[in-house]
């Protein structure tokens, strides 16, 4: 086994020590601190960015809440307006109906009066006509001259028509 050849031990140990010590010194003095630095910087940056993202999220949430509150308020207002409008409309229509009813009642009463007047006049004319007819008939058939007032009275009492 070549590994057991003791003559090769010394040169191997010398070069191993040399290379490893150089490696160790360069690593511990220069390279590892540099790598550590950048890892640390990245960790800080990530933590910072996460914080910023969280703050932004909080703000977005606040904005959303404000927005929702605004919407809710507007909605309540709209509902109030709607109810008021409805009430006003109902009141207006009720008033109009009352007015219409009153007009109708007045016109009906006037018409009734007119009708009653017309009826009275018609009755009067009929009575007069009946008295005249009766007067003429008496004179012609019986030969009695009845004066106009008596005939009219009789016609009214007997109730012609």
């Amino acid at each position: 086994m070549p590994q057991l050849d003791t003559a090769t031990f010394m040169p191997q140990l010398v070069w191993l020590a040399l290379t490893f010590i150089v490696l160790y010194v360069v690593l511990s003095r220069r390279l590892l601190p540099r790598i550590g630095e950048i890892l640390e910087a990245r960790k800080d940056k990530i933590a910072h960015d996460l914080g910023a993202a969280e703050a932004a999220k909080k703000q977005a949430e606040a904005t959303l809440a404000a927005y929702e509150a605004g919407i809710a308020k507007a909605r309540v207002e709209a509902l109030g307006l709607h109810a008021a409008a409805q009430e006003a409309a109902a009141k207006a229509s009720a008033q109009r109906r009352e007015e219409a009813e009153a007009t109708l009642a007045r016109e009906g009463a006037a018409a009734d009066a007119a009708i009653a007047a017309a009826k009275g006049r018609a009755l009067g004319e009929i009575r007069e006509a009946a008295a005249e007819i009766a007067q003429a008939a008496l004179a012609r058939i019986v030969g009695i001259e009845v004066d106009r007032a008596t005939a009219l009275k009789a016609a009214t009492d007997e109730g012609v028509a």
Binding site: I46, L50, A53, E54, A60, Y67, I71
Partner: protein, 109 residues
């Protein structure tokens, strides 16, 4: 309505933020180094054999050195042999104990 369109993006953001935070926390905690199984059975056999042989060799060597120093014949070499064998067995026993305790992660010398 409009207000139902807004929460999902924020919820999602929350989830992503939480995930990012978890990853960062894991990173800082230093999630174990996962790799410990020394090639399972093959590695285990070689490892235990080397453990036994080297311990035994050290025992014998110490005995031999002491024998030469004290000029005490072969006796200390023999004692060293038995002590080395005992130490080797003890070490193998310990390795197997740690293996039983934490399977696949027993890495004690």
């Amino acid at each position: 309505m409009a207000e139902n369109d807004h929460p999902p993006p924020l919820d999602e953001l929350e989830k992503r933020l939480a995930a990012a935070r978890d990853i960062q926390a894991d990173r800082e905690r230093g999630k174990g180094s996962g790799l410990a199984a020394e090639g399972k059975s093959y590695g285990l056999a070689i490892r235990l054999a080397i453990e036994m042989v080297s311990t035994l060799a050290v025992g014998v060597f110490l005995g031999w050195v002491l024998d030469r120093w004290l000029d005490s014949g072969p006796w200390l070499l023999i004692v060293g042999f038995f002590l080395g064998a005992a130490a080797g067995s003890l070490n193998v026993y310990r390795v197997s104990q740690t293996m039983i305790r934490e399977p696949g992660d027993g890495e004690t010398g």
